[in-house]
């Protein structure tokens, strides 16, 4: 009899929990996913150094360097998805600098910028936002030739 009571109570609890689960719907959460790389392009090694800025809007500015060859460039892009029905705002954390390494040298990216900057909002109903990241590549004088790359993290935090 006692066992039967317990079983009934558990069944009742599950029955209650079921509708509760349905009512809370999707739990609040956030996910970021990288879509494209931050690409600066191809440049002739400059005699006196130079800079290449790829803005988070995908635009490019050159200073002291000459592009050459298959010279594709673009900002890094990410997809940000906020789940649940709560606050769709999020805080963006990007590196302050990124070091690219190549076969015989390195280069630094600074002035890293995101769009949106600082905070973003994954507006309902889709709760999906696009986040892009750019920066300024510093090419040293007589930078050794080769392919340079790095990976860098971008973190998004839900605003409660």
């Amino acid at each position: 009899m006692r066992n039967l009571t317990l079983t009934l109570l558990i069944a009742a609890a599950v029955a209650v929990a079921g509708p509760l689960w349905a009512q809370t719907s999707e739990p609040q959460g956030i996910e970021i996913r990288n879509l494209t790389s931050l690409s600066f392009g191809s440049f002739v090694s400059p005699a006196a150094g130079g800079q290449v800025t790829v803005g988070p809007d995908g635009s490019r500015m050159l200073s002291g360097v000459v592009p050459v060859g298959s010279d594709a460039f673009g900002a890094a892009s990410f997809e940000v998805r906020v789940r649940g029905t709560g606050n769709p705002n999020y805080v963006i954390t990007i590196p302050t600098s990124i070091t690219l390494t190549g076969p015989s040298g390195s280069m630094t990216i600074d002035d890293v910028q995101s769009l949106p900057s600082g905070t973003g909002k994954a507006n309902p109903p889709a709760r999906l936002d696009t986040l892009t990241v750019g920066g300024t590549l510093n090419i040293n004088a007589l930078q050794p030739s080769g392919a340079y790359s790095a990976t860098f993290p971008v973190t998004v935090h839900l605003v409660n």
Partner: protein, 167 residues
């Protein structure tokens, strides 16, 4: 005891409700690649000068053309040899090709004891799509020299600029 059971069951029910929320991420991180390519600078050096050779003074004007193979042809003048094309050496990235920019007409002349002689119609053995096999290449440059009637005898010299650039 019954209360305790109820408490346990309530706790179980609560856990059921709360657990999915605890699984949700309040932050998320993903990484992107950043990349750039550096190409060795292209460098040009002059290996041999453009020589029009020995030309005999004449009462009529004429021209001497040295082609990229270094051969001379004349119009209305006697030429005694000594001609050769200019030669340039290039180093750069073997995966790239380059183009050659030659002086424009009217921009180069040879100075000497008499009136300056114009050098025009520059030609190059490679003008565009020039390969850097193994990271180096060479090309030759010719041009046409205009000699005036009764050009003062003597040695005439000048310089001209040639530019190479990756394509």
């Amino acid at each position: 005891m019954k209360n305790f059971k109820a408490l346990v069951i309530t706790a179980a029910a609560m856990a059921f409700v709360i657990a999915p929320a605890a699984l949700a991420q309040s932050s998320s991180t993903d990484s992107a690649t950043a990349n750039a390519t550096i190409i060795a600078a292209i460098q040009l050096s002059n290996a041999a000068s453009l020589e029009f050779g020995d030309i005999v003074q004449d009462t009529v004007a004429g021209t001497v053309t040295v082609d990229t193979a270094g051969a001379a042809t004349t119009s209305g003048l006697t030429h005694l040899g000594g001609e050769s094309a200019a030669e340039f050496d290039v180093t750069g990235d073997s995966s790239k090709t380059f183009a050659v920019t030659l002086p424009s007409d009217g921009s180069v002349s040879l100075a000497g004891p008499g009136p300056a002689m114009g050098v025009n119609s520059f030609s190059s053995s490679c003008s565009s799509g020039c390969a850097l096999t193994g990271g180096s290449a060479s090309f030759t440059v010719g041009a046409t020299l205009s000699v005036a009637a009764n050009q003062t005898a003597g040695s005439y010299t000048g310089t001209f600029d040639v530019t190479v650039a990756y394509e």
